[in-house]
Amino acid sequence: MLRLEKRPIPSRFWLYATPVVAVILTMIFGGLLFAAMGVNPFAVIKTIFWDPLFGEFAFYLRGQLLVKAGPLILIAIGLSLGFRAGIWNIGAEGQYIMGAIFGAAVGLAFYPTENRLIFPLMVIAGAFGGWVWAMIPAILKTRFNTNEILVSLMLVYVAQTILAKASTGFLKNPEGMGFPGSRNFSSFPAAANPELIAGSGLHWGGVTAVLVALAAWVLLSRHIIGFQIRLTGQAPRAARFAGVAPKRLVVLCMGLSGALAGLAGLFEVTGPAGQISIDFNVGYGFTAIIVAFLGRLNPIGIVLAGILMALTYVGGEMASTNLGLPSAAIQVFQGMLLFFLLAVDVFTNYRVRFGRVEVA
């Protein structure tokens, strides 16, 4: 009989092997799925994983990788801090939207003033917007013991409604001939977030993502707050014994993840998206959850996982345009990655044994 036996110490090998095995399993089962849909699986896998890096249009697509990876990494780093402490912010998508709206609103309020302080001010407003949106579940949790998973998730749909109102109402471009959407930031240099090096895809969001990843790494490994976060996640009672105030930690982690998601939204709306529109958000806030776990909740791992996930985005789009795959199939493919990751993760803490079950 097959049974699982807890390892005395988590396996180092499986800690690092898990993401690799999960990617391979996703390729195999995703391939089967694509084959069942009547598409050559090898062509799809090649289109997703190879072409964006080394294919014909790689010069353009590599830049797109950074454009997609930036916000994913930024949001995932913030989420990972909370996840490590057992605080489950599932509503980063909403915080991302609210960050974009707050930041864009501040910028547009100054239109058409040209001043170098406008963009930094927008960055602060973006972070603030995400922070405020995350504070709602945080305070409800600390005051009334509500479940932050449900509250933060439901607030995503509230944020989407506000976004719709913004792009058709209070932030609508007065010179937009009645089309929904705000003014485009590319025609408002003081508030825009252009590519720092033409064709590289790198904008301030990518730079911030790298800096935040480094800061998070230092926080977790060297700072007492990082220690408290890890301790709370692993042994909540030991954390209280060590003097951690759990409520303060909830507010801190929710706030940090909200602010980082808000920042990602602001960089996106002023850069690659260009304007507030009804559907400028493309689910980065949700995908970042996969990125956080794929990266083992480790800042460096998250950077790598963000790039990998960006690859499935960029490659997935290529696959759906070139090979006619529905975008839902690509989403299933991405979901499989998280699924296999969590499944394979069992081997980090358990090993499989063959033999009779012992009553003891």
Partner: protein
Amino acid sequence: MSSPSLCLELTGITKRFPGVLANDNVGFSVRPGEVHALLGENGAGKSTLVKMIYGLVRPDSGQMRFNGAAYTPARPSDARTAGVAMVFQHFSLFEALNVAENVALGMENPPPLRELAARIRAVSEEYGLPLDPARMVGDLSAGERQRVEIIRCLLQDPKLLIMDEPTSVLTPQEVEILFRTLRQLSAEGTAILYISHKLDEIRSLCDGATILRRGKVVATCVPKEKTSRELAEMMVGATLNPPERRPGEKGEVVLGVTDLSVASPIPFGTSLKEVTFTVARGEVLGIAGVAGNGQDELLLALSGELRVAPDKLRIKGHAAGDLGPNERRRTGLVAAPEDRYGHAAAPDMTLVENAFLTGAIRKGLTRHGFIDWAGAKAYAEQVIRDYDVRTPGSYVAARALSGGNLQKFLIGRELDQSPEIIVINQPTWGVDAAAAAAIRQAILNRAAEGAGVVVISQDLDELLEISDSFAVLNAGRLTKPRPVEGLTIDQIGLMMGGAHGMEVAHHGH
């Protein structure tokens, strides 16, 4: 080869679990009517052995004979059919059902409840174990619950009764009642296999003893012919020295608790009610009581994890009830909770990280919020050295250490912070005798250096050995502390709440 005069005979029993040889070629025998002790430290293999006799675990090799016939129980019901009954250390009773219903649930073919209740009453009177079959188990004391388990066994009319650490939850008076019952059973010819590490009990009750150490039989003896110390040394395999203490001067009061009442933060916990005591420099206050009477809550309130009104708790004369754990550490108070895995330590973190967990404040291991890992490592290694913690290094996860070694590390982590007030819950729970002696000595050394110490423990012998004053926590209330000198076991029993109004027993026996 086996004489019919033996009730149970084991030869060459071996059982291996992944990574441990739990029993190695174990053999012993029990005569009908004999009270036989299985003696050994935690992890010596006693539990595995009785689980095999009761059919819960199968031996890898070896033979068992019961009343002269080969005996290979595949499951507990086989064991019960053969005439083996067992009272476990942890009860398996439903609190919302009454005594008779609980007994019926444990039987294969229970008779109608009315008839069963009459039988329970008859057996309980016959053996001097007063028990009302109609009472809810939830309302019973630990001692009474144990009687339910015993009577459930006696109704099967067993030839062999196995008792696993039966006295750990009993008051001294309840122990007396239990022993009278066991002696009566033995006089009627029932063999009793008695598992314990309490040496005085074994000396007064048992006719023979088999001593296990690391899975092997190291000695067989008649316990009445040995001193407790000789038994302990056979059990541990080393010479033991009782802790020495210099008669220290009692100094000024360092910790004062006045009229402390606080609701338990633990679901179904026990609230503290008007707890009052003081501890002076150089004094060890021992707090006894059966588990679940507010021990955990008292530790939380003293460590600062549970905050109370400022003036209810004074540290060196200053109101400190509203201070958190780290603020209290700054004032000189350290605490060691009972639960090593998850409360006192984070099991998956390394010893260095666990040293930092409480050492950060008093050892100055942070600067502007940044952790001095080199300092934390040095501190962990200091504790490992000072307290003889057996570990491959400071980098291993706490859960990789044995219970005793981890406890030495965790107690050492607190004691090495030059504390002025020390609060410890269950300092030697699940720790082998040698390590326990080392821990007690370390506590006494700190007291001699002028620290005020509160030790909460369920081990009466331990408390009487190290305490200057003694109090009992019962249903959240603390008795008035009394000097240990001159305290008799009877007085202690009364402080512990007597035998829960069950002294009247034994009708005409």
